[in-house]
Symmetry: C2
Subunit: 327 residues, 2 copies
């Protein structure tokens, strides 16, 4: 089988009887001429696709999208949430011929260096920040300006793509309150994580507005932490009648813990999470939660940084209540 290499811009130019430069411009769109049509025709006929590697080298734009996850330890990359983000980005980037790499952004004083390194890496065309904090945003080097977005909080020059955390929390909490719950406990995420602020705020607001007791236990995004938190809640506030967890995994941990403690859900205690992961529908009882379009968010973030154009400062994705039996 004759392995003919893919056609180059040179071939297209020759076929269209123009120079490489003209062909390049025609394909780039900045040439509104009759020649433009010829070039496009030739390109289509030859099955030409621009070589992203050569393009990146010539334009200095890089050819890979770095998904960078902030956290205390490297195992933040083990989170299924991160998997979804990375996979969605890898899918969105594929048509443009760019790949995605995933790496950990440490929380120690080495953070700025890692970011700087990323900015100087000629292979990187853009960065998607995950679990961003104010400190990370402040440490962002100038070399990254204009090609970094954040899934989470943003900053001037760093467009934010995120679910409406606060709105989702309010919706869920209102639902619990409306169904008669009056002693609602909350399992929050790590305090350093900005995305936990809004839900906690929404919780405190509702508790304050209704004169209900504030019962916050901190956890992380693991089921195990939910398990532990449930035990703590039962111990400290035995009359709790609802638990709202920052995320589905801990909520499912709560369900498991309560189940094995003989507590009836939702009879004795209502439980709700956030994310609507696939298995939220499979627990017993089914987990009431709110949707979190992770794939759509990551896709939008990837497309924005790939487009190169400045994106709106903040793109907020709606979340809707998913009512099941647990609350």
């Amino acid at each position: 089988m004759p392995h003919r290499p893919s056609p180059t811009l040179e071939d297209v130019a020759r076929a269209a009887d123009v120079s490489r430069a003209t062909a390049s411009r025609a394909l780039a769109g900045s040439a509104s001429t009759p020649a433009r049509a010829r070039v496009h025709a030739a390109a289509r006929q030859l099955g030409y696709t621009t070589n992203p590697v050569a393009r990146a080298l010539a334009s200095g734009s890089g050819v890979r999208l770095a998904v960078v996850v902030h956290g205390r330890r490297a195992d933040v990359l083990d989170d299924p949430y991160v998997d979804r983000v990375v996979a969605a980005a890898a899918r969105a980037a594929a048509p443009q011929g760019v790949g995605v790499s995933a790496s950990w952004l440490p929380m120690d004083r080495g953070t700025p260096q890692v970011l700087e390194q990323l900015g100087e890496d000629r292979g990187v065309c853009g960065v998607i920040l995950v679990n961003t904090t104010e400190r990370v945003l402040a440490a962002l080097p100038a070399s990254l300006r204009g090609r970094v977005v954040s899934i989470g909080i943003g900053a001037p020059g760093v467009p934010s793509f995120d679910v409406d955390n606060g709105g989702a929390a309010t919706t869920i909490l209102n639902h619990m309150y409306a169904s008669g719950r009056r002693r609602i406990a909350m399992i929050s995420g790590p305090a350093w994580l900005p995305c936990t602020a809004r839900p906690v705020e929404a919780y405190r607001d509702l508790m304050a507005a209704t004169g209900s007791p504030v019962r916050v236990v901190s956890g992380d995004f693991s089921a195990h932490s939910g398990h532990r938190a449930a035990a703590e809640i039962l111990r400290r506030w035995p009359d709790t009648d609802a638990v709202y967890a920052i995320s589905d995994a801990p909520a499912l941990g709560v369900l498991a813990a309560l189940g094995s403690s003989g507590v009836d859900v939702p009879g004795d205690i209502a439980v709700a999470g956030f994310d609507d992961i696939p298995f939220a529908a499979l627990s017993t009882p089914g987990l009431t939660t709110a949707s979190h379009p992770v794939g759509r968010i990551a896709t939008a973030a990837a497309e924005a940084v790939l487009a190169g154009r400045p994106a709106p400062p903040v793109t907020s994705f709606g979340s809707e209540l998913i009512r099941r039996r647990s609350a």
Copy 2:
């Protein structure tokens, strides 16, 4: 802030007082000389990292790893299993400066063209096949030779990286049989998927060897299909005392279905899955299953194709029984 671009090979060569060519060779390792040491020192001191884009263009090696998932529809990419594979690959490829793209490999007659296109894409340095079939392997173009691996079945020239499906199935089934189950039903995967063959074979073997009835229902890898399959099993073979599903998601679907039908697990029916996904530990009852090191497998696959060296024809990853309450 002065945006100094990262040092180039030229800079290193100058600092080490050699030519670019020598510097290149020294870094590549094919120069065992005193100059070699100087070059390395200079590189380290300048913080030089080779530009993967330029390297790819010059050597024609490409700069992105394509994860290609075979299946009937594009939504095979929505599977959490695929997310894990892509994310693990993206993590393994990051240190080498290469990114990962994810795309769907259709099952219609367009398959060979997509593969050929992939082989001619100058940006692609390697391919990881997921859900490979014999037909896909047969359609592999020569242009891909030596830089493609498979997570699943392999072929001459296409190293396979996979969990020991057959062994895992045997372990689980033996466990069920040993605990007294005699009318075991199995929920298999799509018939076209080679990775379902071994488990089904193991199942049939055990049933034959023990003179037990064969009860196979086909499903896919979704929880929903497990739900449906459970209903079918109850209807067709009401005396079934165990259900073994090809994967955890359908197994959890079975658990949910049996739970809502008032069937006691494991009292009336034992249930087991395969994969040990995080939520297998959280179901009620906890799901007995077997481990599936997806991350390690994908990492090994990515590293193999990135290394460029021919890998062993088949790398099999062990699986171990995870005993919980459901079986």
